[in-house]
Subunit: 316 residues, 2 copies
C-alpha cells in the first residue's frame, strides 16, 4: 500500500464569460503539486511549501491544500495523519484557479494513501471545503474542471451539512484553443467579488441567460458561429473590467486578431480567449500580450488545446 | 399560383421554468388558423374572425395577425393587398401563445401567396412584429416554437431596424410528454409582465443560470435525472404564482403524481408539466385538474408528445 503520493491539479478558468460561479475549464498551463504522506500521529501538518507562492497559512484548518484533509480526517475518524508538502505552480491572485488546484491536488494525493478510496463526489466535496478557505464561499467552477478536466458545468448544493458538487461535463468543440494571459499583477478573489452589486437588472439576466443557452447549445452542436455570438458577459465583466489595467484594449486586440471570445479568467486579472485553431491562437496571444504591454504590464501566456484539457492525477 | 392560403400555427409554452423570454415549445393542443387572400387593392383588411376569440382589434396595424403583414407589405412595396380571416383556436389571455400563433399563421399563409417566398428569418421577423401588438415588446419564446415546432431557444436582436430572431432547436428527450392545463380564467400578458420587478438578486441569477445550463445539457444528454434537478424557476414563478388561484397545489399535485417539473405556461394562467411516458402524463393531468377544481376553477387540458411537437404549416 502507498503511504506517500504526489498529485498534480491543473490551472483552470472559471466564469467563462457566460457562466459566473458555474462554468469552468482546465488549462494545460501551470498546475499545483501536492505530496501527502501518511503519518502515525493523527492530524494534518504542513511540510515544505515551494514554487511560485510560499507565503501560505500554516494553520492546516485555514490552508486551501489542507482544510479539506482536516475535514476528511474528522469525518472518517482516521487513526493516522497526513504530512502535506505543496509545490505551487499557479501564481497567487492570478485568476487561474490556484486555490482550487491546491485543494484538488491534496485530496487526490490523500485519496491514493487511504485504505479505502473516496468516491468522486466525496473528492469534489472535500476539495470545495479546501478551496473555500481562499474564496470565502462555495463555488465549484474552478474545483470541478481542475479535478475532472475539460469544460464543466458545476453547481454546489448543500446536502447533509456538506457542500456537494453537481458536475456535468460539456463537449469542447474540436480545434478550440485557449489563450490564457496572466499580467504581472495580483488581484485577490475577495476584492474582485467585493465589487459586484448584489442585484442585476432582469433585462441583463435575460440577455446573459440567452448567451449561456447559446454557448452550451453551441458546444453540443459544434457551432463556432453560435459560440461566437453567445460569447458575451453582460453581468460580471462590466463590473470588474476596471480592476484590470488595459482590459478593454486586451479584449479588443484579441477579437480583432480573430478570437471567438475573450473575457476575464475567474476573478482576474488573467484574461483568456478561445480561438479556432492553434496558429490563430498564437496570433491572438501576441495581440493580447502587446495590449497588456501598452498598459505597462508584463505578462506570461499559454496556448493550449481545450479538447485535451487535463484532469488532476497522481503523478508519483 | 396560389392567391389564397390557410395556415395553422400551434399553441406554445413559453419561459419553460428556466428560460424567461428565451425557451419555448409547441404543443399539439389548440392552434390558430389564418386565411390570407390576395386582393387587387393594396392594404391589409381584416375579414371574418371566428373561433374561441372574436373580439380582436379591427385596425390591421394593431391586430396581431395582420400587423406583421402591414409591415411586410410596406417593406416589399407590394402592389396588391391581403384580406385576412382568422379562426382562433387558442383562448385569449391563456398563456398558450395565442397572439404568436395568429401572427405566425398569418405570415405562413401570406408567404404562400407571395410571388417570391420569404426566408425563414423574414417570416420570424414579421411574426414577431405581429405578436408584439399583444405583448408590448419583442420576445420570441412563443413565436419561434409556434413557427418551427419543438423546443427552441430564441433570442431577439435588432438588426437594420427590424427585430431578428436567433433560433436554436433543442433536442427533446424521447418519451417526454407535455401536460398543459388551462384554467377558465383570463390573465393578460401585460398584467403578468407588470408584476415583475426590474431587478433580481445576483444569487438568484446564478441559481437560475445553473438550472438553465443543467436543463439544456440534460436535453442533449437525454438525462431525465438532470432535467428534473434543473427544472426550477427561482426568478419569475415566485413573482407570478399569486396571479393563479391554486397554483402551488397544482404544482405540488403534478410533482407528487410523478412529473419531471411543473411551472407556469408563458405568462399564465395555464400551467404545464413535463412527464416521462404517456401513461404517467395522464395521471399527472388528472392530479392537476383536481387541484384547480379545489381552487374553484374548471380547466381544459391536453397531453401531447414533445418529440412530435408540431410546426406551423399551410393546410389549404
Amino acid at each position: 500500500m502507498k503511504t506517500r503520493a504526489t498529485a498534480m491539479a491543473p490551472a483552470s478558468v472559471a466564469n467563462v464569460a457566460v457562466g459566473f460561479d458555474l462554468l469552468g475549464f482546465s488549462v494545460a498551463a501551470a498546475g499545483d503539486e501536492v505530496t501527502v504522506e501518511r503519518t502515525s500521529k493523527p492530524g494534518v501538518e504542513i511540510g515544505d511549501v515551494t514554487g511560485v507562492v510560499t507565503q501560505v497559512p500554516k494553520d492546516s484548518a485555514k490552508n486551501t491544500a489542507t482544510a479539506g484533509l482536516v475535514r476528511l480526517a474528522h469525518d472518517l475518524d482516521l487513526k493516522f495523519g497526513f504530512r502535506v508538502s505543496i509545490k505551487k505552480g499557479i501564481p497567487l491572485g492570478s485568476g487561474m484557479g490556484g486555490s482550487a488546484a491546491s485543494a484538488v491536488a491534496a485530496i487526490v494525493a490523500a485519496n491514493a494513501v487511504l485504505d479505502k478510496p473516496l468516491t468522486e463526489a466525496d473528492m469534489l466535496s472535500y476539495s470545495l471545503i479546501g478551496e473555500a478557505q481562499a474564496s470565502g464561499s462555495y463555488h465549484a467552477d474552478n474545483v470541478a474542471p481542475s479535478f475532472k478536466g475539460g469544460l464543466t458545468i458545476a453547481r454546489v448544493r448543500s446536502i447533509d451539512d456538506r457542500p456537494r458538487v453537481e458536475l456535468v461535463s460539456l463537449p469542447a468543440i474540436p480545434e478550440t484553443y485557449t489563450v490564457l494571459v496572466h499580467p504581472q499583477l495580483i488581484l485577490e478573489t475577495k476584492t474582485a467579488r467585493g465589487v459586484l452589486k448584489a442585484d442585476i437588472h432582469l433585462k441583463s439576466h435575460v440577455e446573459q441567460a440567452a448567451n449561456l443557452a447559446g454557448f452550451i447549445a453551441a458546444c453540443y452542436r459544434q457551432d463556432f458561429d453560435l459560440l461566437k455570438r453567445s460569447f458575451a458577459d453582460v453581468v460580471i465583466e462590466p463590473q470588474r473590467a476596471h480592476l484590470i489595467p488595459g482590459f478593454h484594449d486586451v479584449k479588443d486586440s484579441a477579437m480583432k486578431a480573430g478570437s471567438l471570445g475573450c473575457s476575464i479568467s475567474g476573478a482576474g486579472p488573467s484574461v483568456f480567449a478561445w480561438v479556432r485553431g492553434r496558429e490563430l491562437a498564437e496570433a491572438v496571444e501576441k495581440a493580447m500580450i502587446g495590449a497588456f504591454a501598452r498598459a505597462g504590464l508584463e505578462s506570461k501566456s499559454w496556448v493550449s488545446s481545450l479538447t485535451d484539457a487535463p484532469a488532476a492525477k497522481v503523478i508519483a
